[in-house]
């Protein structure tokens, strides 16, 4: 489903930084319904991989295939079609503060021109799935960290994406809420979605017992089917 082929990403120098090699000749494949964890220290290239898969960044070299389509050749105006197949979960939730939980989730469907009654139904279902049916009218400022992340997960799920990209989704959460979010990701995976989780949390990686790709300085140093935390 996703194929990253000999991909290199070099950030050009700017006023404060010199050239940075974020990824160096990285290749791997992710099958449909797989749960992949990308591990590594800060700056190892985890987020860059997620950005390249979602076409937020263009690779300096190499090819990225999503459903057999080379997305590195996508035109800017066509990227939204790819994004509609992907759900994003971030460490800082990226919720709109002036929209309620319901509206934040519904927003994903509104921008893709869904009908109002369908939005109502779909959001209701996904709120139930993440256990936020009683917080639908709350604003993000009125929620706990775990609830915010569950809202973000609900938003990522609402358009039934094939792939969920989660970038340090438990980074701002306590262990209890982290486990909660992890359980939710596993549940989503069981429902058929491919999950790519970027994290440097030893506890999460070791508890998952799923495939782990470990990155160091932009290079893959280990790719194990039932990996453990090594860095």
């Amino acid at each position: 489903m996703i194929k990253v082929q000999n991909t290199t990403k070099i950030y050009p120098p700017n006023l404060t930084k010199t050239t940075k090699i974020a990824l160096s000749d990285v290749s791997f494949e992710v099958k449909d319904g797989e749960f992949l964890t990308i591990s590594g220290r800060s700056g190892a290239g985890k987020t860059t991989i997620l950005k390249i898969i979602s076409a937020q960044e263009k690779p300096t070299k190499g090819k990225i295939f999503f459903d057999n389509q080379n997305i590195s050749q996508f035109k800017d105006k066509d990227i939204h079609k790819l994004r509609q197949k992907i759900g994003f979960i971030f460490q800082d939730y990226k919720l709109l503060s002036y929209k309620t939980v319901f509206e934040n989730i519904a927003y994903s469907l509104e921008v893709t021109e869904f009908k109002d009654d369908l939005i109502e139904k779909e959001v209701g279902e996904v709120l139930e799935l993440v256990g936020l049916e009683n917080q639908a009218d709350y604003f993000p400022g009125e929620l706990s960290g775990g609830e915010k992340q569950r809202t973000a997960i609900a938003r990522a799920l609402i358009h039934r994406p094939k792939v969920i990209l989660a970038d340090e989704p438990t980074g701002n959460l306590d262990p209890y809420h982290s486990r909660d979010i992890l359980k939710m990701l596993l549940k989503i995976n069981q429902l058929g979605a491919t999950i790519i989780l970027a994290t440097h949390s030893k506890e999460i990686i070791n508890s998952l017992q799923k495939r782990v790709i470990t990155l160091q300085d932009g290079k893959i140093i280990k790719d194990e089917p039932r990996g453990r935390f090594i860095l």
């Binding site: 979602s54 076409a55 937020q56 960044e57 263009k58 800017d76 105006k77 990227i79 939204h80 079609k81 994004r83 509609q84 994003f88 990226k94 709109l96 927003y107 994903s108 509104e110 921008v111 893709t112 021109e113 109002d116 938003r155 358009h159």
Partner: protein, 302 residues
């Protein structure tokens, strides 16, 4: 795009316009200045055209004929002149008419008494020629000074006003060129300033734009509200400048009429209301739209 989506885009643009008070005000002000300048130039052009036309009406070229010239010879010349494309009107003034006109206009003049005393009509027959524009008097004058007319023509009186008008025409043309140049430079400046103020607005919503992109929003959905915001800024700038123009011209119409030698700017404004409103809306909305397109472009890339 569905009607519901268009409504949402419009609503979102309206919200942006209301929420970002100071930035909206700054953008609106810059566009307002540009609209004012554009409209002023239009009004100025109108005033200059009026003055030129007024003066042009008062100018003519007089040809005085020698005493023995017959009416038929003068008529032949008149016929020739009327065939010229430059000639607008030719009017024959007989010595009698000239005398009568002099009497009427110099009723209490001592010269009139002297004239009456000699019992002779000293006035010569003449024709008064009006050209379509001041610059055409030169050609007509050259034609009349040809040797073939020397036997009948006593004097060709080149009006000094023609020179003034020619200068005024040249001035108007220069003002037009300068004005267009000024409008283009000011328009560019306005685009730059509007672009930057709108860019600030867009920057303040960078995160929202990022989220929109990540959830798969089309470019038109992201761009739409900002275009609506730009259009609203332009529309209100045009509306404000219209109110300002209307109010100012209405309240000081008397003073302005004196200042512009009888040209009624308020009446001109009313007569050209549709053209002025269209001009103001075109400048205002055009600037707002162009600036928003340029300002949002950066954020539509991946």
């Amino acid at each position: 795009m569905k009607l519901k989506t268009i409504k949402k885009i419009f609503q979102s643009g309206l919200n942006n316009f209301r929420r970002q008070g100071s930035l909206t005000l700054a953008t609106l002000f810059v566009i307002f200045i540009a609209v004012i300048l554009g409209s002023s130039l239009f009004m100025f052009k109108g005033a200059v055209s009026f003055l030129t036309a007024e003066l042009q009406e008062k100018v003519d070229l007089s040809v005085f004929f020698k005493e023995n010239t017959s009416r038929s010879e003068i008529f032949k010349l008149e016929q020739k002149l009327t065939q010229f494309p430059e000639v607008k009107k030719v009017e024959y003034i007989s010595p009698e008419t000239a005398y009568k006109s002099f009497v009427e206009t110099h009723e209490n003049d001592p010269y009139l008494k002297a004239l009456e005393a000699i019992e002779i009509n000293p006035f010569l027959a003449s024709i008064h020629i009006q050209a379509h524009s001041a610059s055409q008097y030169g050609v007509i004058s050259i034609f009349l000074k040809q040797p073939e007319f020397q036997d009948i023509i006593y004097e060709v009186n080149d009006s000094k006003r023609a020179v003034i008008i020619e200068r005024l025409s040249a001035f108007t043309s220069n003002v037009n060129t300068l004005g267009i140049g000024l409008i283009i430079s000011l328009g560019l400046m306005a685009v730059l300033v509007t672009f930057n103020t709108l860019r600030l607005t867009i920057f303040s919503q960078k995160e929202e734009i990022g989220i929109m992109r990540l959830v798969g929003a089309k470019d038109s959905f992201i761009q739409g509200p900002f275009l609506v915001q730009g259009v609203l800024c332009g529309f209100f700038a045009a509306l404000l400048s219209f109110i300002l123009f209307y109010g100012t011209l209405f309240f000081v119409r008397g003073q302005l009429q004196d200042l512009f030698l009888g040209f009624n700017l308020f009446e001109f404004f009313q007569t050209n209301l549709l053209a002025i409103i269209s001009l103001q809306l075109t400048i205002g909305i055009g600037l707002g739209l162009i600036s928003s397109i340029f300002a949002i472009r950066k954020y539509l890339k991946a």
